[in-house]
Amino acid sequence: MRCLLVAVATALGLTPCAARALSQPPARLSQTGLYASQGQVDPGHLAFAPQYPLWTDGAAKSRWIHLPAGEAIQGRDEDSWALPVGTKVWKEFRFQGRKVETRLLWKTGPQAWVFASYLWNEAQTDATLVPETGLADLEVAPGLRHSIPSRTDCRSCHGQASVELLGFNALQLSTDRDPGALHAEPLGPGMVTLKELVARGLLRGARPDLLSRPPRILADGPATRTALGYLAANCASCHRGDRPLPGLDLDFRHTSRVTAAADEPGLRTTLRRPSTYLIPGEPASLRLDPADPGRSTLLHRMASRRPASQMPPLGSSLADQEALAHLRRWVANLAPSH
């Protein structure tokens, strides 16, 4: 009887502790199914590298996805793939060659995802589950600090009711990879892109010309393509038209519905658009101001690492200088016709 109640309650979206306990992440990374044996990633998992990675203070990353046997991704909606229940995705973070953290996203039900992060031990043999509240300010290398977000903060980027993978989607796995992408990670042997997913029958329902007309940021030049790709990966998890922050109208999300370069939301909602946030001491500011790039609030907030103004507001403690340099050059060189 109790089980039935729990099942009904879960179906209704009420999660009593009993139901929640069913989907607790394992205590150790080695119990999550990532490794076939000590240190050997299960060869059945697919390794991948999104073309536009997230900046995390210069961490090196590796990623793997596990799809349950015989199951495939439903790709009819190119902007929001449906993953089969049982999907697991891992992302490993390394600083100066040492593994520090491995994150897990695990789809346990049609609407349910488990979020977890594991902290690696000194000996680099296994990693243990980090408390729900995360871990702040770990010293991961001399002078280098890293924070592991709380599970509610994971959801600030990956979503609440409908969770999304941010590096495993049509744009990120496109076969038309941006050669200028910032902090790009090369495609290693065996890493999957759209081509392999289609060939192996792991992506179903996608449009027939997906591989002959692969997704890409629309832009009139390579600098714009790279800039908008960077912003799509690093900023669109929060700034997106389909889940707007109230009163902001700021959107960096590339979708398959964009058909002209000028319509890329990352340009349309920023270039010469007034900012509600004001740089201290400035009476008015634009989000991107080609006439005076230094006064663009977008660049100002990306360069800040003060808690009240930094962008993104969480997930890194160092500003991304390489991206800032690229974006400054790009804004300054934008043709007046834009």
């Binding site: 109640l5 609440q160 109230p246 808690p307």
Partner: protein
């Protein structure tokens, strides 16, 4: 076994109520919680009345008045006095910079009218601005909202969505001037 049916029906009842528009009882519960929660103390500006400062109920819960431009906060001497409050009781200066009580009315552009219930719950759970941004600043009592049950929080949100809209764009919080004290 005998009580299973009524319990199930009760659960279904709760779910039905959640899916539909909030009932009058839920909104009344929300009004009660906002009352005892003291939200008006900071979110309804004070005005000068015949007997001294009193809440300006024509601007109920609309936050710091847009027209009330605050000059730089006075510099306090070293010591235990650290926080300054505007006469309206809606602006606060302290070591965190300057914070302004938000517009909680149902106004779509400047209040909570454009928020979803999920955003409100996420704001409380994370203690982050709009549920996804910077940490929320003092003196907003996030911990006491966090202590509420989910159904009470939903009731608070449902009630706030019925508070008459007041168009009032509250200024953004400002950071303290850079100091030599490391922030982390």
């Amino acid at each position: 076994m005998h009580f299973a049916r009524p319990v199930l029906l009760a659960l279904l009842g709760v779910a039905a109520a959640q899916a539909a528009a909030p009932t009058k009882a839920v909104i009344q519960r929300g009004a009660y919680l906002v009352g005892v929660g003291g939200c008006n103390d900071c979110h309804t500006p004070l005005k000068m009345g015949p007997k001294g400062p009193e809440p300006d109920m024509t601007r109920m819960l609309s936050g710091h008045p847009e027209a009330l431009k605050m000059p730089p906060a006075p510099k306090l001497p070293e010591g235990p006095w650290m926080v300054t409050m505007a006469g309206s009781a809606t602006a606060f200066a302290g070591p965190w910079g300057v914070s302004y009580a938000a517009n909680l009315t149902s106004d779509k552009q400047t209040g909570l009218g454009g928020w979803t219930e999920a955003q409100f719950l996420q704001m409380v759970r994370t203690g982050r601005h709009l549920g996804q941004g910077r940490p929320i600043l003092p003196p907003m009592p996030v911990p006491s909202l966090k202590a509420m049950t989910e159904s009470d929080l939903k009731a608070v949100f449902a009630y706030l969505q019925t508070v008459p809209a007041v168009a009032n764009r509250v200024p953004a919080a400002t950071e303290p001037a850079p100091s030599s004290i490391p922030m982390h």
